[in-house]
Amino acid sequence: MSQNLFFSKDSDVTPANLGDAIQQAIEIEIATIPVYLYTYYSINRSPDQDAISGALVQELVRAGKSTAEASAIALDLSADIMVYANKAGALIMSVAIEEMLHMALSSNLKQALAGLPELVGKSPSVWPACLPGHEPEFPINRAKLSLDQLMTFLKIESPDPLPDPKLLKAPIPYKTIGQFYKMIKTCIKDNDLPYNTHSPQLLPGKGYYAQNNIDTVYYDKEHNPHFTNAPDSGDLLYVRDRDSALHAIDCIVDQGEGAPGADGLNPDGSVNCGKVKPADYDDFDKKELSHFEKFAQIYCHYKTLDEKFNGLGIGEINISDYFVVNVPLNPSTAHYPAHIRPVSDFLNGVYTYLFVMVENCYVQSGNTQYETFMFGIHKSMIFILNSVCGDIMKLTYKHNGHEYVAAPTFEDYPFGLVSSPKSQLIDLYNAAVAVYPTISYLGQRVQDLPDVPLQNGGIF
């Protein structure tokens, strides 16, 4: 990704650079997607409760509990882990889905005000990455679930400037994503801008966006389902005038950071695990928490569970060992061994082709756009990308004496201009299935994808 800072440190958003500003907003949204997805896939949402419970019983009996006592405690605590693993997965997926919505809303905004959005080749290419233009910069890793990773998520979604007095003395382009969008809002409010209402956008009411699906649901101990997104928290929106443009921006900011008055991190940089406030919700009915508050919930719940387990008197326990897969930190396809590399290339080809298809939706309208979105993008996300993410994680490799589970790297694949991206994707699939026949069931799904050209002249 070309992480350009589009502004000098003290500049404002003006009609002259509004298109660059909105493109920067799109790239901010895109930068979050691989990070959240990577951590999501590191979570085993259905760990083996019997194994967890059995191990706990043994340790508790060794520590002096009766078998009956130990079994009761182990059942309760193992259920806690089951709930937490599933809840953490659901909440992170609920945020990832809304980041995709934000990418589409920002793209609609650009289409209406400044021309075609650019999506292909805009994922971070250097890791640790940073949010384009955010100051103070902070490192963003593709890492497995941990308190450190959750702290990074909280920094991304913080409604307040990050509490680093040393860095905050420097002049900054923007301190929070919300403030950045506010600069764009001010430009839109203060200027009589022309709105392009002739070019296609991703519109509501076509089935393109669904707030919840089964992956955003988790169950409590009594197995009651909890839906982590709310139907009224936001949807796609047709940007055709000043009001709709401002509405789209409000949706993005409220979902990320909460309503005005929502608090960020404590002044000392710690997480406020106190009671949820009305401003921490992003919807009218107060049923959906902001991204920041969702991550705060996962963070605080983790700490509570960790204390509970480590208070059992059976030695030091890292609760993530029960449900987090040992994936590497910031892996790259180039560093994977030969039995994984072609699979990772194929996965990245699918990931990048998703952006190719979304870009195409901004030049096609009507049924062509509908078919590309419903049968290309939906199918790729659920039946190809999600499937191959699961399949690659069945592969392991050794590095520096440690064994790791291979993970999706979510790198942009550099589709060339000589042949169509779909034909290159088929080549990637053929190379991958040659080393990993397990994925042969994906062949027909790849074959079924729409054949969509690159819009912006290729990635590199």
Partner: protein, 199 residues
């Protein structure tokens, strides 16, 4: 299938085109062909006698199993009326189990297990199969057909489907309700759904 070939003529419709039909009179198979049956998505949703997977049900609504192609998730259905629902898809799609408009517009697996509930729309947290049966009965009412009882009052339980089909999978990463954790009793939850209560 392992290796696949790129064909610029295959887009969206996808797959290998069917072979052209033999010319009339050509020696291309038996002179009599089986009559087509209506393809439907689950137990108790057949419109006609003999239109379940076993072909031996007596009347509308009494069939044991889907005739539509079995699949495990959204957008994998072949045609109109052949998609399950619930779990994925927007609110409108999720109100149309077994009643989608076209190929690839169904939002979940076929067949529809009794334990499945909707995740968006007016049927949220309620049984998908009961909604499918309601839509089916409304259609039969318009067609003035007598509808018999489904073999299972609330659709096929997942355990039964696994037993009958050898395996059963529907989409989603949110845990398996049948072998779930803690203090869950999936049978109780299944009964609540069957009674029209929210999951």
């Amino acid at each position: 299938m392992a290796i696949i070939n790129y064909n610029p003529n295959l887009s969206l419709c996808g797959g290998t085109p069917p072979a052209p039909a033999p010319a009339p009179g050509a020696a291309a198979g038996p002179a009599t062909a089986s009559p087509s049956i209506e393809l439907h998505v689950c137990m108790g949703l057949n419109a006609c006698k003999g239109h379940d997977r076993n072909g031996n049900n007596n009347c509308a609504g009494t069939g044991y199993c889907a005739t539509a192609t079995r699949h495990n998730c959204q957008t994998l259905n072949d045609c109109h009326g052949q998609g399950g629902c619930g779990l994925y898809g927007d609110a409108e799609q999720q109100m149309l189990p077994g009643a989608n408009e076209c190929a690839w517009q169904g939002s979940c697996a076929v067949p529809i297990q009794a334990e499945r509930y909707s995740t968006l729309g007016d049927n949220t947290k309620k049984s998908v199969w009961l909604l499918a049966r309601k839509l089916f009965e409304e259609r039969m009412m318009k067609a003035k057909r007598v509808v018999g009882d489904s073999p299972f009052k609330c659709g096929p339980p997942q355990n039964w489907l696994t037993f009958v089909l050898g395996s059963y999978d529907s989409c989603g990463n949110s845990g398996d309700k049948r072998c779930s954790f803690g203090f869950n009793n999936p049978d109780d939850h299944g009964k609540e759904l069957c009674e029209g209560k929210e999951e």
